[in-house]
């Protein structure tokens, strides 16, 4: 034990035996079989990796052991009494017996104890049928009970949050939920209360367990004590059928298992993918499957007729769309056509639409980002980091949005790196985020003005002498970290912290770090589900599929595509401006709603009002499609197979669990249908054919064909030749030997069409080829600074997303809808409020160069002075009324509606 360096837990308040071993291998004998394992690894894990399952309740691979349940007792030669294998690190020469009579008796005893107060209401328990307590009782437990007294009683169930209910009678006090909340989520809102047999899980008075990660406790509870409102009594586990897939609530792409019963999605559980999500999901991802069944889903094509949108058959609707495209093309040329969106679909959708827009129609006015991201050349061309790089980073620099709100499971990973692994953390930004409390250096700046603090940081990280100032704790932490982690990149988590300022400022800060000689690597924090797949597959002006520019990829691609645009097209802001100005005649909206999503709402409205034609692909009606000629209803997540690319550029499999209601079509197929009607057969009949074509024509995707995608358990990071060693090839996605901590206890085998590898056995090793041509690399240059001077009478706007807003996933999923905040507020700190002399909650007039709206003012201590925060995923009036996309920042003047109340002193 003491041989494992204590510095493994640099956070000084952690008490545990080591969870991971060191690099030295030791010999351990388990039930007579000698095996090798890293010294210090926990015995229970070593045994499991070699096929011996030691029963357990409280132990969880992703949390520190507590030794509460006493189920995992084993005999260790030379140690007195039985030992808990969940907290016993292996050492050289250890001899372990896991099945002796004494061990069996102890296991039998623990189960008898656990059952004396357990209500045994299995027939009405959600866990019944996939319950570790049931399973282990069957395998290791007593056949009968000798307890004849009255069992413990509690009111049941009680809600501990809006999403989770607690049945204290069923609880076996394993402390998984409480440890998850405190250790993993950092939301210590549940704990134990009471003592002895009346020990119960409690919330604190007036403080529900309102964590963004509350659903994980339902998943890891070894009994049915914690249940999810969304799933209670919905199904019996044996009636479920499951498929592994990637979550698409945000761009982290957490791996999970999607369960359905009778063609209805009923549950989504995290799967433990080491490089991605460690088994966790955020509540939005977990419960956000419900929107798929929303009653307002579009399920038949619509066409404009008689002043409204009316149902139409697919052939007719496709014909109409084709004639609109042909008409505009013939009259005004390809440049009169703009394609927006595509960040919500699959890689196959993105590719087929890129091919249709650029390779068939010939327009480069294509943009998957709606003014809320970063320039494509930065995202595509920056030196990329993987999520796992966070664990071994020299330091992590946050230069982007509040990860807790926008990329929640990435927040967990960064938090773990900072808290458990001791990776120094820097928070650059205009206001506090969920990770601010964990940062060694907090560098605040006015919105739109990050350069000065970034330069200081870059200099300090590059080893230049700094004054003793706010960076000192950081440099000390880095020095301390260097004792165990000398090398390792500085990982910059890069994204847009606010859409009220131009992206240029962020790009300038990124360029400073990229040029600082600190081996900076960037991890994108653009949150939209598959925005990285869309960019990688050419849904950005100037780029072709596979991270190459028009010029670089033209010759190669011309072998497959009919044409490639001659010159670089426009980004979303210009496309909308040109649509508003009349140069663009047709807007194709790929599953997007610019009026709601574009930061400058007025521009989006003008564009859609003035543009002659709109073709919209979507799953719901929205404001932007009011002007559409044709609306195509599309197949969505859960209904569609394919692949996505996450923030790392990791290509991972999407599974299909249900057959869609009505007649929807996959977006990629709509593209091929339109292409065929425009006279270009794409010759793509299935999503695997699309994948194979991508692997063939898109340089960055070389090697990532349909076979690899289906074999790679955790997906494959591009370019795959650089990441080949990280790929785990698996026949069964939930491998028997590497049990998933995600799904109850035992892996749920996936079957049928989504069998990994589609039935083909993977090779023992893969040696993926390198791209034949150099991929695009960012020049690390940034546009000149044009920042406006700050006006001391005004507040500068930060407009960012929160997890639960007016977005479709939240509002269309009944479980989440109750958590949604849909009306905008102006959030300022107390001093600004006092300066204005208004009361908390009072409605004020907010004036920007763009317009004037009325919003309630709310005090928020996390907002610094001279800054005002308005969330963007809110119904109008809100941030998008205030933002002018052509301004570098958004300054606000606040006026009171009523006369200020003069307080008597």
């Amino acid at each position: 034990m003491s041989s494992v360096p204590i510095s493994q837990w640099p956070s000084e308040y952690k008490y545990s035996a080591p969870v991971a071993g060191d690099t030295e291998m030791v010999n351990v004998t388990i039930d007579g079989v000698e095996v090798q394992a890293p010294r210090g690894e926990l015995l229970i894990k070593v045994a499991q990796d070699y096929g011996t399952y030691i029963p357990r309740f409280c132990y969880h691979e992703r949390m520190k052991p507590v030794g509460m349940c006493r189920m995992c007792l084993v005999e260790v030669e030379g140690m007195r009494g039985l030992q808990i294998s969940c907290a016993t690190p292996v050492v050289e020469g250890m001899v372990v017996t896991t099945q002796s009579p004494d061990v069996k008796e102890a296991q039998d005893g623990v189960l008898e104890f656990l059952l004396i107060n357990h209500p045994l209401d299995c027939p009405v328990c959600d866990r019944g049928g996939e319950c570790p307590l049931q399973d282990q009782t069957l395998a290791f437990g007593p056949g009968e009970s000798r307890f004849v007294e009255e069992k413990r009683h509690f009111e049941k169930p009680i809600p501990i949050s809006d999403l989770v209910l607690l049945d204290r009678e069923r609880c076996i006090q394993c402390g998984r939920c409480t440890r998850f909340a405190a250790e993993v989520a950092g939301d210590p809102l549940i704990d134990f209360g009471g003592r002895g047999s009346s020990t119960e899980v409690i919330t604190y008075p007036g403080a529900p367990f309102s964590s963004y990660f509350s659903g994980n406790v339902v998943q890891i509870c070894p009994v049915g004590a914690l249940t999810a409102r969304s799933y209670r009594f919905k199904a019996r586990p044996w009636d479920l059928s499951a498929v592994e897939t990637s979550c698409q609530s945000c761009s982290v792409g957490c791996r999970g298992v999607l369960d359905s019963a009778s063609n209805r999605l009923v549950r989504f559980l995290g799967v433990d993918s080491e490089p991605v999500n460690h088994g966790w999901l955020c509540d939005k991802g977990r419960y956000g499957y419900e929107w798929v069944h929303a009653k307002d889903r579009l399920n038949i094509p619509l066409v404009a007729r008689g002043g409204g949108l009316v149902p139409e058959s697919w052939p007719q609707a496709l014909e109409l769309a084709t004639s609109v495209i042909r008409d505009v093309f013939d009259k005004h040329g390809a440049k009169a056509i703009g394609v927006l969106g595509g960040a919500q679909g699959t890689n196959e959708d993105a590719y087929a639409w890129a091919r249709l827009a650029k390779g068939v129609i010939g327009t480069d006015n294509v943009d998957a980002q709606l003014g809320d991201g970063l320039p494509a050349e930065v995202v595509i061309g920056m030196e990329r980091a993987t999520i796992a790089d966070l664990d071994s980073a020299r330091a992590i620099v946050l230069l982007g949005p509040d990860l807790k709100e926008e990329l929640p499971v990435l927040y967990l990973r960064v938090r773990r790196a900072a808290v458990d692994l001791g990776v120094p953390l820097v928070d650059i930004g205009a206001s506090n985020t969920g990770l601010t409390p964990y940062a060694q250096a907090v560098l605040r700046h006015l919105p739109g003005d990050p350069e000065a603090v970034t330069e200081k940081l870059a200099a300090a990280l590059a080893g230049q002498p700094t004054r003793p100032d706010e960076l000192r704790p950081l440099l000390e932490a880095i020095d301390k970290r260097a004792l165990i982690q000398k090398e390792g990149p500085v990982v910059v988590v890069l994204g847009r912290s606010s859409v009220a300022e131009a992206a240029d400022a962020t790009v300038r800060a990124a360029a400073i770090l990229a040029q600082a000689g600190i081996s900076a690597k960037f991890l994108s924090a653009l949150p939209t589900a598959n925005v990285h797949g869309a960019l990688d597959l050419g849904l950005a002006p100037g780029f072709l599929p596979g991270r190459v520019t028009l010029a670089a990829g033209r010759d190669e691609l011309a072998k497959t595509w009919a044409r490639v645009p001659e010159e670089q097209g426009l980004g979303a802001a210009k496309i909308l401006a040109n649509a508003a100005g009349g140069e663009i005649k047709l807007l194709v909206l790929l599953n997007c709603d610019p009026i709601a999503d574009f930061p400058d709402g007025q521009l989006a409205k003008d564009a859609l009002k003035n543009v002659e034609h709109v073709i919209s692909l979507n799953s719901f009606t929205n404001e932007s499609m009011r002007h559409a000629d044709v609306v195509f209803p599309i197949t969505v997540w859960g209904e569609q197979r394919g692949s996505i690319s996450n923030i790392e550029g990791r290509v991972a499999r999407l599974g299909r669990k249900i057959t869609p209601d009505g007649s929807t079509m996959e977006p990629w197929r709509i593209a091929t249908e339109l292409a065929a009607r425009l006279g270009h057969e794409m010759d793509l009949e299935s999503f695997t054919e699309v994948q194979d074509e991508i692997a063939q024509v898109a340089p960055a995707f070389v090697g990532v064909d349909s076979k690899l995608i289906s074999w790679a358990r955790d997906g494959a990071v591009l370019p795959v030749a650089d990441h080949a060693a990280e790929i785990t090839l698996a026949l069964s996605s939930l491998d028997q030997n590497k049990r998933s901590a995600g799904v109850s206890w035992e892996p749920i085998p996936t079957s049928g069409e989504d069998t990994p590898g589609n039935g083909a056995v993977p090779p023992a090793v893969i040696s993926p080829p390198r791209p034949a041509q150099a991929l695009y690399s960012w020049a690390k240059q940034a546009p000149e600074r044009t920042a406006a001077l700050a006006d001391s009478y005004s507040l500068r706007l930060v407009a960012s997303r929160t997890l639960y807003g007016n977005d479709l996933i939240t509002t269309q999923s009944p479980s989440l809808a109750r958590l949604a905040t849909v009306t905008a507020q102006l959030r300022v700190n107390e001093r600004e409020r006092d300066r204005l002399g208004v009361a908390d909650g009072e409605v004020v007039r907010v004036i920007s160069s763009r317009s004037s709206i009325e919003l309630p003012l709310v005090v928020d201590p996390s907002v610094p002075e001279r800054v005002a925060l308005v969330a963007i995923n809110r119904d109008a009036p809100g941030a998008s009324d205030l933002v002018d996309i052509n301004e570098s920042v958004t300054d606000l003047r606040i006026e009171t509606l009523s006369k200020p109340v003069i307080k008597e002193s």
Partner: protein, 440 residues
């Protein structure tokens, strides 16, 4: 020869019951802090050796060698902490609160010397929440010690700094277990922690920590003053020195007696405490606090020796003795103890959490004439899943020793009164059956 106490740590407070806790009095009449002055001039390692030489063993319950415990701290790892266990929660134990109320300066002096010896610059006295007077006197004494330069920076010009914090518990037995105490000190629920890591390696705030009992630490100034050899010359075998025993139950003169270890139970109970009340015969006695297995009158001539107690399959534990005469129903005693443990189990580990209340329920029906013939065997059977082997010194399937304590009295029932109880259960059962209405 008269049977007498050997007063070392209780001498002063016995001699001046009216004001022994006052700083000026203690300084003038008890050389308070003179041992500290001497100790600060010595090498810390030498002090540890001195304590090792004394053979002093922990007075909190486990009886572990104090000097050895101090030398377990890993070299070169700082900060380190010293925590004094003043939680005294063991039923029938009431010696520490006398030491705290009567001679707080002795405890503080011992604490400072111990902290100096182990290189700690922060020490904590975790005092049981119910000890109102003790807290008051201790806090006043700590303030005096600060005022007079025995605490704080550069103590007596030695360059040694020490902050001493008195922390009141919130009232639970399990905060007396050393790791439970550390959790509680950190502001967490008092739940014991799995070992390893041991407190010596990762204790308070994950730093190396020594936890010692009040009485243990109160001995330190005397050992420093008179030497380890002197201390070791008292006592018997590996139980050196003196020890305070809280004698209670049905005896004529209940109270605290500080005696040289090695004295017999008979001399202590009959000689010093006046024997069983009213001259009644003794039925059994509990030698080491509620957690200790019971002994019978036939054991009265055994010596108070920690190792001998182990041979007798019990322990001297927290240093308290409860005597029971022949009017007492042993089942009632057992049930009452079971209730205590069921109430105080922290709920962390399954066998103790569930087992302790099951034991209580079964004993309740046994005590009240509702037992079943095989109830004692039932208890022993499922109880062996808390205490495999049922033999003291107890093995345990639990984290802390409270687990086995829940079974200690049951094991004693079987050992001391097994046959009678089984017969009684059968009789109760038969009687109940005879009352049942048999259908015609």
């Amino acid at each position: 020869m008269a049977i007498e106490e050997t007063r070392i740590v209780t001498k002063f407070l016995r001699d001046r019951p009216q004001d022994s806790w006052e700083y000026a009095v203690a300084r003038e009449h008890n050389q308070a802090y003179s041992a500290l002055e001497a100790a600060l001039k010595r090498d810390p390692n030498e002090l540890i050796e001195e304590v090792k030489t004394s053979g002093l063993r922990g007075r909190g319950g486990a009886g572990f060698s104090t000097g050895q415990k101090w030398s377990f701290l890993p070299a070169g790892v700082f900060p380190r902490y010293l925590a004094i266990n003043a939680d005294e929660g063991e039923p029938s134990t009431f010696k520490d609160h006398m030491l705290i109320e009567g001679d707080p300066h002795q405890l503080i002096e011992g604490t400072i010397i111990s902290a100096f010896a182990i290189g700690a610059h922060h020490a904590f006295i975790y005092i049981r929440g119910e000890f109102a007077l003790g807290t008051e006197r201790l806090e006043a004494a700590v303030a005096e010690a600060y005022k007079n330069g025995y605490l704080g920076k550069d103590i007596l010009g030695s360059g040694f700094d020490l902050e001493l914090i008195v922390h009141q518990g919130a009232g639970c037995y399990i905060a007396g277990d050393e790791t439970g105490l550390l959790s509680s000190l950190e502001g967490e629920r008092a739940m014991p922690r799995i070992k390893p890591p041991f407190p010596a390696v990762q204790g308070l705030f994950a730093a190396p920590t020594v936890v010692n009992n009040v009485e243990t630490i109160s001995n330190i100034p005397h050992i420093v003053r008179k030497g380890g050899e002197w201390y070791a010359s008292m006592g018997v075998n590996k139980s050196t020195g003196t020890r305070i025993f809280s004698v209670s139950g049905m005896v004529e003169r209940p109270g605290n007696y500080e005696i040289e270890l090695g004295m017999s139970f008979r001399d202590l109970i009959e000689g010093l405490a006046g024997g069983v009340r009213g001259g009644r015969p003794m039925q059994f006695f509990i030698p080491g606090g509620a957690s200790a297995p019971w002994l019978l009158p036939e054991h009265l001539d055994e010596p108070l020796d920690m190792d001998r107690a182990s041979e007798l399959r019990t322990m001297l534990g927290s240093g308290s003795i409860m005597a029971f005469d022949d009017t007492v129903d042993p089942l009632l005693v057992s049930w009452r103890l079971a209730r205590f443990f069921a109430h105080e189990s922290c709920g962390k580990c399954t066998p103790c959490r569930e087992g302790s209340s099951w034991i209580e329920k079964v004993l309740y029906r046994m005590t009240n004439g509702l037992g079943r013939p095989d109830d004692l065997d039932l208890l022993l059977d499922f109880g062996s899943n808390i205490v495999p082997g049922l033999n003291a010194p107890f093995a345990q399937t639990t984290i802390c020793a409270l687990g086995p304590s829940t079974m200690s009295h049951v094991v004693s029932l079987d050992r001391c009164f097994g046959a009678e109880i089984r017969a009684r259960l059968q009789k109760d059962f038969d009687k109940r059956r005879s009352l049942e209405v048999t259908p015609a």
